[in-house]
């Protein structure tokens, strides 16, 4: 996967770069409008993570430029301006998704993965990881060619883990991914535990390996080993 992160805030840019830079992925960065324009004119990316507010221009102009040149890079807008106008503007101009700051890096990773999948498989798409095979359009999961039945939340959890393979995903990030803003109760974490227990059980019963590990009280990790 080849990515470009356009973000002016150094702290956030470094975190994203570090999180994305893993085996097989290349993550480049740009910190302002002109350097970003230079990069998008020279190279093509699977996905561009685009901050709207840049010191010397608007990310929306970069988006317009890409669409005008008919480049097919996936585009994920990240913005702290949670204004509806911006969101609708961005999506109307052809962005693939919109994420409001602050976000968890694992959430960003999952959204980027979804965009790349949509771009590269044109809807009829399978996601394969070792013995796990996911038919994305039908939301069906097979392990060693045996279908297993997952609840919507278990399915979302599995996709989330697959997008963040090898990373520790915090319980907070999982709770926000599954329930959004609406449930802000401490016992969320108990529900996460029971969902993960069920998911793990169903995968093991179908003859799969146990990839989900608890990570020192922080959260969980989907191991690739």
């Amino acid at each position: 996967m080849k990515l470009l992160v356009i973000e002016d805030e150094a702290g956030l840019r470094e975190s994203m770069e570090e999180y994305f830079n893993e085996e097989g992925s290349i993550c480049e960065t740009a910190f302002d409008f002109s350097s970003a324009m230079g990069k998008v004119n020279l190279y093509r990316y699977d996905c561009i993570v685009l901050d709207i507010t840049l010191p010397d221009g608007s990310g929306l102009d970069i988006l317009k430029h890409l669409k005008h040149e008919q480049h097919t890079d996936g585009i994920l807008i990240i913005s702290a301006k949670n204004s509806l106008d911006d969101r609708l503007n961005g999506l109307d101009l052809g962005a693939d998704d919109y994420l409001t700051k602050p976000f968890h890096l694992s959430e960003l990773r999952a959204r980027v993965a979804a965009i790349v999948r949509r771009k590269s498989f044109d809807g009829n798409n399978h996601l394969r990881f070792k013995e796990i095979d996911i038919e994305l359009s039908a939301k069906e999961v097979q392990i060693n060619d045996v279908a297993i039945k997952l609840t919507p939340k278990e399915y979302a959890l599995l996709l989330y883990f697959l997008a963040n393979k090898g990373k520790v995903v915090s319980k907070n990030a999982i709770a926000e991914h599954l329930w959004g803003d609406s449930v802000d109760m401490a016992d969320n974490f108990d529900f996460i535990y029971s969902h993960i227990k069920n998911l793990r059980k169903k995968m093991l019963e179908a003859g799969g390996n146990d990839y989900i590990q608890a990570a020192y009280g922080m959260g969980y990790k989907f191991t690739t080993a």
Binding site: L12, N82, D184, G217
Partner: protein, 419 residues
């Protein structure tokens, strides 16, 4: 009361009062003047009698007319000369009429005579009557003219004022139309118009500034929170942690999450209060309620809470985001303040949405219920949930009410008739 009516009423009342006083004064003045006139006529008669007596040495031959009579009486003592009001018997009709008499005397060949000249005042009174009627007619005509002229002139003069008023009523911040100038030849209205225009422009500028501020504040607060969050996410990848370390990290995550939610809630509240969320789309509240109940599936099951729903379709045009927030706030409150094994009942029809829940808590303090940062000690929320709900309801003209009946808490939204 309208200005015109008020003004007309005062002017007519005052004019009538003045006219009444004037009429009384007028009546007495005319009467006095005419009395003097009659007295003069009597004196003329007296002179004539004296002149005649002096010239001819006899009393004049007199005959009574319809209006005047002269009587001579022989007396021994000198008489006083005086005017008196008296009555006069009409020769024709034999009716008594008010009259004026002059008592005087005359000397004829050494003999004293008392002379009484009486003149009827019928003609004078007739004259006064006619004058009074004419004056009355004039007054009524004048008042009527005043009334109608006032109406026409005032309503014409005030036309620009009502136009300005209409514009002010139609003024809407969220719309981009500006207040139009109303031309007028009257200085006061021109000033009012320019003041209104100035104010409208200033309000619009403030509104734009506020909108920009809200967004900038959001940006400035969210960026550092974002960095903290991403650094924490990166940090937890770095290796093994002891129990103490992971507890500290979890606390940090929880605090950042809380900070984010608080910030989001405050910004949402600011936006709703300033009507910055203007998008509208077709939606069905029934679907939103069902989605919210699904969203809370796990805690509902974990607390063994029974759900009773009576949901009818309720299509409306509103902001999806705000309606989701509203419903999610009410249901999460009903869940959060419930008791294990309790129930939540939702009822939706075209008139109202009611969310009721069982609870161990007593009746809530209705006075502070919808105020900011009012929350019970056990609550983990920001204390903004109900405030936001109330603001959303206000924005759409809904009524949000709280009731406590037989230990059950009810939150009832009554929809506006047009929604």
């Amino acid at each position: 009361m309208k200005l015109l009516t008020r003004y007309n009423r005062s002017t007519i009342a005052i004019t009538t009062a003045i006219m009444l006083v004037a009429a009384v004064a007028y009546y007495f003045a005319i009467t006095a003047v005419l009395s003097r006139q009659v007295d003069k006529a009597l004196e003329v008669e007296e002179h004539e009698v004296r002149d005649y007596a002096l010239l001819n040495g006899t009393l004049p031959h007199v005959f009574s007319t319809n209006h005047q009579a002269i009587l001579f009486t022989s007396v021994n003592t000198p008489q006083q000369r005086k005017f008196v009001d008296t009555v006069y018997r009409d020769l024709k009709d034999e009716e008594l009429e008010s009259a004026r008499a002059l008592y005087t005397w005359v000397k004829v060949q050494g003999k004293q005579y008392r002379v009484v000249v009486v003149q009827s005042k019928v003609e004078t009174e007739d004259l006064i009557k006619v004058i009074f009627l004419i004056t009355l007619g004039l007054i009524v005509a004048l008042l009527a003219a005043l009334f109608f002229l006032n109406r026409i002139i005032l309503s014409n003069i005030w036309k620009p004022f009502y136009k300005i008023l209409e514009q002010l009523k139609a003024f809407n911040l969220a719309e981009n139309s500006s207040v139009k100038t109303v031309p007028s030849g009257i200085d006061e209205f021109r000033e009012l118009d320019s003041a209104v225009n100035l104010m409208a422009d200033r309000v619009k500028d403030d509104y734009q500034a506020l909108k920009a501020f809200t967004e900038n504040a959001s940006h400035e607060l969210m960026t550092p929170i974002s960095v903290i969050n991403s650094k924490l996410d990166t940090f937890v990848q770095t290796g093994e942690f002891t129990d103490t370390q992971s507890r500290l990290l979890n606390d940090m995550y929880a605090s950042v999450t809380r900070l984010t939610r608080l910030n989001k809630s405050m910004l949402l509240l600011a936006k709703i209060e300033n009507r910055l969320i203007a998008d509208k789309q077709d939606l069905n509240l029934k679907i939103l309620v069902e989605e919210a109940l699904n969203q809370f599936e796990e805690p509902i099951i974990a607390r063994e809470i029974t759900i009773e729903s009576h949901l009818d379709d309720k299509p409306m045009k509103a902001s999806l985001l705000l309606m989701e927030v509203l419903i999610s706030n009410l249901i999460s409150n009903a869940l959060r303040h419930n008791k294990p094994g309790g129930f939540i009942s939702t009822e939706l029809n075209h008139l109202k949405l009611q969310v009721s829940n069982s609870s161990n808590a007593d009746k809530l303090n209705t006075e502070n219920l919808f105020r900011r940062f009012q929350k019970s000690a056990s609550s983990e929320g920001s204390g903004l949930g109900l405030t936001i709900s109330k603001q959303i309801c206000d924005m759409y003209g809904f009524n949000l009410a709280y009731m406590h009946l037989n230990g059950v808490h009810h939150f009832i939204i009554t929809f506006a008739p047009t929604a």
